[in-house]
Amino acid sequence: MAAREPLLKIEDLWVSVEGKDILKGVNLTINPGEVHAIMGRNGSGKSTLSYTLMGHPRYHINRGSIIFKGEEIGELPPDERAKKGLSLAFQYPVAIPGVSVSNFLRASVKAVRGKEIPVKEFRQELKAQMALLEVKDEFLSRYINDGFSGGEKKRLEILQMTLLKPALAVLDETDSGLDIDALKVVSTGINTLATEETAVLLITHYQRILNYVKPDFVHVFQSGQIVKTGGSELSEELEERGYDWVTQELTPSGVA
């Protein structure tokens, strides 16, 4: 085994939704603890990548492979992927009326960790993370995302990530719709999350969040492919010159 086995290795991934090809040969390697950002226009297929990674039933893999922790996960249901250490913070988290946030968090942490957590211990852990994300106690007795503001939804997503401590957290447009204060708080959460144990794949349309979260790698997504890869400076370049610049260059960077 290599000294450093990749956490995630996506090779030549082709995905269609309702018969329409969206991903057309994605290659991406993420090592443990790395922070990657995928940037791209709306409709470029970024969110399709996140849904495919998590195993949404409507996304069909036609070709290629997703190797996570050395195992092909393309056929696994979402819950098994979650148990293996993959997690997704949704761009549009759905409401589930009647189910309290606290019940849900406990059930989910129990499912992913594979064991019951003593109530007191769980409570303490939860309180600490909630303080960090400036989430009020009354949050816990509310129903999941039911009547939540955009900012509250995103905080709940990040709160879940910090409790589940996945090996890879995929954050799908977590920054969209946040005002600057909320963005700062959420970014603090992401930075707490991004440790040696947790790699982060940040999917975003705007460079803005990358002022607070420093990625190790930036990938430009276009027409269902990664067309360019660089360090964090790439995001600034994109911000200045726009996505058209990459299009004009038309030189896929040959990411390994």
Binding site: L88, I96, G98, V99, A107
Partner: protein
């Protein structure tokens, strides 16, 4: 004589066939039949007379029964609801009266061993110890165990099985019995009136508040059994009582019939809450008439959960006959494969300033069918009456069905009536969201369903809420894969 004593029975493996028929229904076990009396199949005048004679009833009750039998025979089957299933009922194949033991016991240890074990398995004595003020347990036609806390007895609260109620408090019974639901109300109330046996009789003196629930537990054991309990609750002015009933039966390949009549009378300023968790096995017809009268400033609540049965037709009703009376019906129905829950509510506003709320939530899955059937009636002069009706249906798959049949008859102008109905499907997105957090498909579905029922569950005592959530979880596991 049509009836025979101690009918011989085949000895069956207690659990073998049950597992194969319904592996997910945990109350599906059956006991060996060991009865003091079991009537023959079918309904005759002789059976009605012998029931009354065995119970040593007063003459007026025998006459009441015989009149009701006559009405039952003359009345046609309802031509609404699920007519096909209704017409499948074979009245000649049913056992109308089974007496499991000589008498109802006040001491748990004296209940016949087999029956005691059954109720032990159902958790009744344990529940009683924990949080109930009184319990009756009915097995087939008769109450086999009954108890009430001493302090309530001292305050004058009467909690008896209906037969004992008639024997010991004939005057109160005669004054109120069948005043809310006359035998001629419908075919099944007539049937119940003819062959009724068991059920609860509760009388709460003026001003007494029974803070802890009283409970009755109904168990059908024999195949093709007909259980016809009769419950009468009278809350004198300013009193309060909460009554809970639960029901289960073994799983057989042929059908049983449960047809109860429940009458509630809430006098001035009284408050009655009546909670039902109906979890009959899926071979039981559950055709029940429940009605309450709420006098001035009184409040009546029906909290009605329907999980089991083959066909349920039940529409708890509240007649608001006094000023400012208030009625609430909160019901949930879970309808799975080969099940039809036809449930709803009826509220009659017959006095000014009365108010009512109906919340009905149904879930259909695996081809099951849930219907809401409701009536709001406002009589002339019932000014300033308010009513709000809300029906939410959740469909778990394409094969399942949900219908809503609301009726409004409003003969007064100065009223406020609201009606809202929604039908939704368990979304792929909701499932995906929960599964992405590690929950299996069954766990995710159960969580969504429990959430949908939450407005109901939160009205239950904690122990019941936990049990209900668990039952739903079992149902969901059974329906996946």
């Amino acid at each position: 004589m049509a009836a025979e004593l101690r009918q011989p029975h085949e000895t069956t493996d207690q659990f073998g066939d049950i597992r194969s028929i319904a592996s997910d229904y945990k109350y599906g076990f059956k006991d060996k039949e060991d009865y003091v009396f079991k009537s023959g199949r079918g309904l005759t005048e002789e059976i009605v007379r012998s029931i009354s004679a065995m119970k040593n009833e007063p003459e007026w009750m025998l006459k009441f029964r015989l009149r009701a039998l006559d009405i039952f025979r003359k009345k046609p089957m309802p031509t609404w609801g699920n007519c096909k299933l209704l017409n499948d009922i074979d009245f000649d194949n049913i056992f109308y009266y089974i007496k499991p033991s000589e008498k109802g016991e006040k001491n748990w240890d004296e209940v016949p061993e087999g029956i005691k074990q059954t109720f032990d398995r159902l958790g009744i004595p344990e529940a009683e110890r924990k949080f109930l003020a009184g319990v009756t347990a009915q097995y087939e036609s008769e109450v086999v165990y009954h108890s009430i806390r001493e302090d309530l007895e001292k305050q004058g609260v009467i909690f008896l099985d209906m037969d004992s109620g008639l024997r010991e408090h004939e005057d109160i019974v005669r004054e109120h019995f069948a005043t809310v639901i006359p035998s001629a109300d419908n075919k099944f109330s007539a049937l119940n009136s003819a062959v009724w046996s068991g059920g609860s009789f509760i009388w709460v003196p003026a001003g007494v508040k029974v803070e802890i629930p009283l409970q009755a537990y109904f168990r059908i054991n024999a195949e093709n059994m007909g259980q016809f309990e009769r419950t009468l609750i009278i809350a004198e002015p300013g009193s309060y009582v909460h009554y809970i009933e639960g029901c289960t039966a073994p799983v057989y390949s042929t059908d049983s019939l449960h047809s109860a009549v429940v009458e509630l009378i809430a006098k001035k300023g009284a408050h009655i809450r009546y909670t039902t968790i109906q979890n009959w096995s899926k071979n039981v017809y559950n055709l029940v008439t429940k009605r309450a009268v709420a006098h001035e400033d009184a409040k009546v609540e029906w909290i009605d959960g329907n999980l089991g049965s083959k066909l349920t037709m039940k529409y708890p009703a509240i007649y608001l006959v006094g000023q400012r009376a208030h009625g609430e019906v909160l019901s949930v129905a879970l309808s799975g494969n080969d099940q039809h829950q036809d449930a709803g509510a009826k509220i009659i506003h017959a006095a000014p300033n009365t108010s009512s709320t109906i919340v009905s939530k149904s879930i259909s899955k695996d081809g099951g069918r849930a219907s809401y059937r409701g009536l709001i009636k406002v009589y002339p002069e019932a000014k300033n009456s308010k009513s709000s009706v809300r029906c939410d249906a959740l469909l778990l798959d394409e094969a399942s069905r949900s219908d809503t049949y609301p009726t409004m008859e409003v003969d007064e102008k100065e009223v406020t009536i609201e009606h809202e109905a929604t039908v939704s499907k368990v979304g792929e997105e909701q499932l995906f969201y929960l599964m992405s957090r590690g929950l299996t498909e069954a766990e995710a579905k159960a969580m969504i369903v429990n959430g949908f029922f939450e407005p109901f569950t939160k009205e239950l005592p904690l122990e019941y809420a936990v049990e209900l959530n668990r039952l739903i979880q079992l149902e969901m596991e059974g329906s996946v894969g």
